[in-house]
């Protein structure tokens, strides 16, 4: 994203919300270097309104983390998320560099730098058609390394390329994988080690509010802004079919109106159909990226993503079923 677009994006985002979070994605968002983000912070300060909270996170592959990055991330309280799919053979299956070489060793070097410098970080492990076969290896790797992780499914929409479709997993395989991880995690009884989204699902099935957007039905809290200023509902929908508009020609308030009346209104119809479901409070109709690329669903009941999600919640619930109220 070039400087003029950056200024336009920051200005228009900060103008419409009391508090704003930026999550910087790529490609690899560390490629532009520390100076690029120092400039972003300067722009944010220029447009920050009185008492406005701004936060920044960066979702990185971790291969470029060095001491300069460590100092910058620490000083500026950047949230850090590292993408790592598991041990070497699993991670390197899908995460290779431009020369076709696996990146596992470089990612771990970055993670070790974060740990040595006591920087808080989260990790995202994408569960693809290969790694879904190795839940134990993945769990053991992260647990032995002491790295909490979030296992996100690799999903594909109809317009995605063939490689993505080959890597995608079906929702039932994801459910089976997550339930297996849940069993492993609960066996440890270690609350200092976290496995997402199982932590959120446990909260949900026990009557508490999850935190992840995909269990909260809160797509409207986020938009994804491409490098040219195009605005989409989410990073899963960088497709012209879902384009809200461009910030060079639209105000964010106009984008939000389109979001609410178009994209999100379809979501509201689905949620209405879902309200009779016993798992509605923890599901909230799920993440639209798992709706098989279909934004015209009216009632998901019976569709694979819906049935797999019901199975996921029921199995976690069976594992966690409370037999008594909180006693004080």
């Amino acid at each position: 994203m070039d400087e003029p677009t950056l200024r336009e994006v920051v200005n228009k985002c900060l103008a419409v919300a009391p508090n704003v979070r930026f999550i910087w994605h790529g490609g690899e968002p560390m490629i532009p270097g520390v100076g690029y983000y120092e400039n972003i912070l300067s722009i944010c300060e220029e447009f920050r309104r009185s008492n406005q909270k701004i936060s920044h996170s960066i979702q990185t592959n971790g291969t470029l983390i060095n001491q300069s990055w460590i100092q910058f991330l620490s000083k500026n309280k950047f949230g850090v998320g590292v993408s790592i799919d598991g041990p070497a053979h699993i991670h390197n299956f899908a995460r290779i560099d431009s020369a076709g070489q696996g990146t596992f060793e470089r990612v771990m070097r970055g993670i070790n730098l974060l740990r040595e410098n006591e920087l808080k970080f989260g990790t995202v492990a994408v569960v693809n058609s290969y790694s879904v076969n190795y839940p134990d290896e993945i769990f053991d790797f992260f647990y032995n390394e002491g790295i909490s992780f979030n296992a996100n499914p690799c999903t594909a929409n109809p317009y995605d390329d063939e490689e993505m479709k080959t890597l995608a997993i079906n929702p039932f395989d994801y459910t089976k994988f997550i339930v297996h991880l849940a069993n492993r995690w609960l066996e440890t009884d270690n609350p200092h080690f976290r496995v997402g989204p199982i932590d959120d699902i446990i909260k949900g099935v026990m009557g508490h509010q999850p935190r992840l957007c995909r269990f909260r039905g809160q797509c409207f809290l986020y938009v994804t802004i491409d490098s040219n200023g195009d605005v989409y509902p989410c990073d899963a929908f960088l497709n012209k079919d879902y384009l809200f508009g461009n910030l060079w020609s639209s105000e964010m308030t106009e984008i939000q109106a389109i979001q609410q009346s178009g994209y999100y209104s379809g979501r509201a119809e689905v949620e209405e159909a879902c309200r009779v479901c016993e798992w509605y409070q923890v599901c909230k109709s799920g993440c639209m990226r798992t709706w098989e690329g279909n934004k015209n669903i009216e009632n998901p009941n019976g569709m694979d993503f819906c049935e797999a999600r019901k199975l996921l919640f029921s199995q976690i619930h069976a594992r966690i079923a409370p037999i008594g109220n909180v006693q004080s």
């Binding site: 309280k77 998320g81 270690n190 609350p191 200092h192 997402g196 446990i202 935190r211």
Partner: protein, 77 residues
């Protein structure tokens, strides 16, 4: 890290065959939820929503006004 109140007991079904024990994991998750008022009907909880493709926590505001959130914190406490 949130301190777990000693007076609160959560009993959970440890396995599907019915062995009943306390779970530190479940206890910690429920205490964490309670600490931010995370009930189903609490709309203000939106401020704590996190995106699935981000680091996993929501409160790293750079205004010096944060509360202690342990998600994604890999340190042993």
């Amino acid at each position: 890290m949130l301190e777990l109140p000693q007076s609160v007991t959560f009993r959970v079904r440890r396995s599907i065959v019915g062995t009943i024990i306390e779970s530190k994991i479940v206890k910690a998750l429920l205490v964490e939820s309670a600490a931010v008022g995370a009930t189903y009907s609490d709309d203000s909880y939106s401020d704590h929503t996190v995106h699935s493709d981000g680091p996993g926590w929501s409160d790293n505001w750079n205004d010096g006004n944060t509360h202690n959130d342990t998600w994604g914190d890999n340190s042993e406490e």
